[in-house]
Amino acid sequence: MTSVTNGPMRERFYATAADLVDTDPRVAVVIAEIGGAALFAAKRRHPDRVINVGIREQLMLGVAGGLALAGLRPIVHSYAPFVVERPFEMLKLDIGHQDAGAILASVGASYDSAASGRTHEAPEDVALVASLPGWSVYVPGHPDEAEQLLRASATTDERAYLRLAEQANAVPRSVERGHMIIERRGRVATVITVGPLLDPVLEATADLDVTVLYATTARPFDRDALRAARSPRVVLVEPYLAGTSSSEIAEALVDTPHRLLALGVPNVEHRRYGTWRDHNAVHGLDAAGIRARILPFLDAA
């Protein structure tokens, strides 16, 4: 099994997935040589519904599609590059084109395993999943939110991508699938932030007269919340590829003159190791970096 330090959001996922397997006979978990103690214990109790396919990520997605077509509710789990990028055509065909449902729960986020290098980084994951029709994308910012979103999605037959991260906000929100939360109201601009970047955004904008919207559902994008904010200046702060949701904002505000500043992970081969904190700092996704780029945007005419 992959040997890494499991963060609290990841551990909560394992505990929640194990509980779902225990309590809902529809739920099955499919993994490719990854997992935590709670999940392995569940596998011993339910060997037919906790399935380790070995290091076979294409099969992992195919198995999920087949389980769904046989009436089960599969939860697929691995690192983001191995659950989204490597088997991408299986997402498209084995799940989507079949019109099957599944929950893909990834860990690693954009660069949680930065010390492992580019092979274990996936800042483009949300853009990839969002390019396929009919997928919901959830980006919780706290272990409690991850559990809320996982449990809610498990009761449906939807196609969902649940993106777990080591970085987390200090205080959980009561989140609801599909809806942003209004953290603060202001007049000068609307700042939309996603998942674990809420705390840095709140710190960066503490003294600014801006509305802050908090999203844990990246898709479908809550266009109504943005339109209701009625601001011609929009700042988008995403913990993945910069601009992933820019087109959603353009669609939401198609009849409204507006300016957009889209912050996120740049689309470059960075070739640096370290930690997610190092990378957030370099990419301007810590509080100081976010503030440094918001201020001139707000000052501009």
Binding site: A28, Q58, G62, G66, A70, G71, M90, D99
Partner: protein
């Protein structure tokens, strides 16, 4: 689905395929999968076009979605699709494309076309049926060239280790794999603990015996050898 099942047999498959193509270029003997699919639907699968949502029905997965005329002909002969629909093959409004779509044709179990997807889905289906304690079997048809896709070998290895007794893979071998399979196709399954049978892909009794075989502890592979692809 038709309300009254048609009384059509193997001899009708030729003209049912001709309906799709508007000519007689694709006679039955030129269609590599025809006899395997016919024997499955005529003698093996426990399915009924009047109960296509039966959770305990056997499943047939055409992984090799290319050239589905034989498949559609058998489905029409067995009452799963209207014969009239065959004339619309490939048209914009038709449910019958050059690759099948399960969402357009009730009774078709998977949408296929891109090679190397069906067997992985079949493994998941067999796992799901096992978890639900269903007696249903899953039959997946692949081509010998399709086996070149590495995803098949992920599925073959895992299914053997998982002892998926309700899974059967039929490989229609018309020697269309450019690089071939030294040691034989069956050996690729046997080394992963599958039971195997290699039979004449035009011999209905031989196919029936091979396809009906089921061991309690392992998946089953049938290599159906037909004439080489021209």
């Amino acid at each position: 689905m038709t309300a009254t099942l048609p009384a059509l047999g193997y001899a009708d498959l030729g003209w049912l395929m001709d309906l799709q193509l508007g000519d007689d270029k694709h006679a039955a003997s030129a269609t590599s999968t025809l006899d395997v699919i016919w024997v499955l639907y005529d003698r093996i699968l426990r399915i009924d076009p009047r109960r296509i949502d039966d959770p305990d029905r056997d499943r047939f997965l055409l992984s090799k979605g290319h050239g589905p005329m034989a498949y559609y002909a058998v489905l029409a002969a067995k009452g799963f699709i209207d014969i009239a629909a065959l004339r619309t093959f490939g048209l914009y409004e038709s449910p019958l494309g050059h690759h099948p779509d399960r969402n357009l044709v009730p009774g078709i179990e998977i949408s296929s076309g891109s090679l190397g997807h069906g067997l992985g889905i079949a493994v998941g289906m067999a796992l799901g049926l096992r978890a639900r304690h269903s007696p249903a079997r899953v039959f997946c048809l692949v081509g010998d060239a399709e086996l070149e896709e590495g995803s098949n070998h992920e599925a073959i290895a895992f299914a053997g280790r998982a002892g998926l007794d309700r899974l059967a893979c039929v490989v229609v071998d018309n020697r269309s794999s450019s690089l071939g399979w030294p040691g034989g196709i069956a050996s690729r399954f046997a080394i992963e603990s599958w039971s195997t049978a290699t039979v004449d892909g035009r011999d209905h009794d031989g196919l029936e015996a091979a396809l009906a075989t089921r061991h309690e502890d392992r998946p089953h592979a049938v290599i159906a050898v037909v004439e080489p692809k021209a």
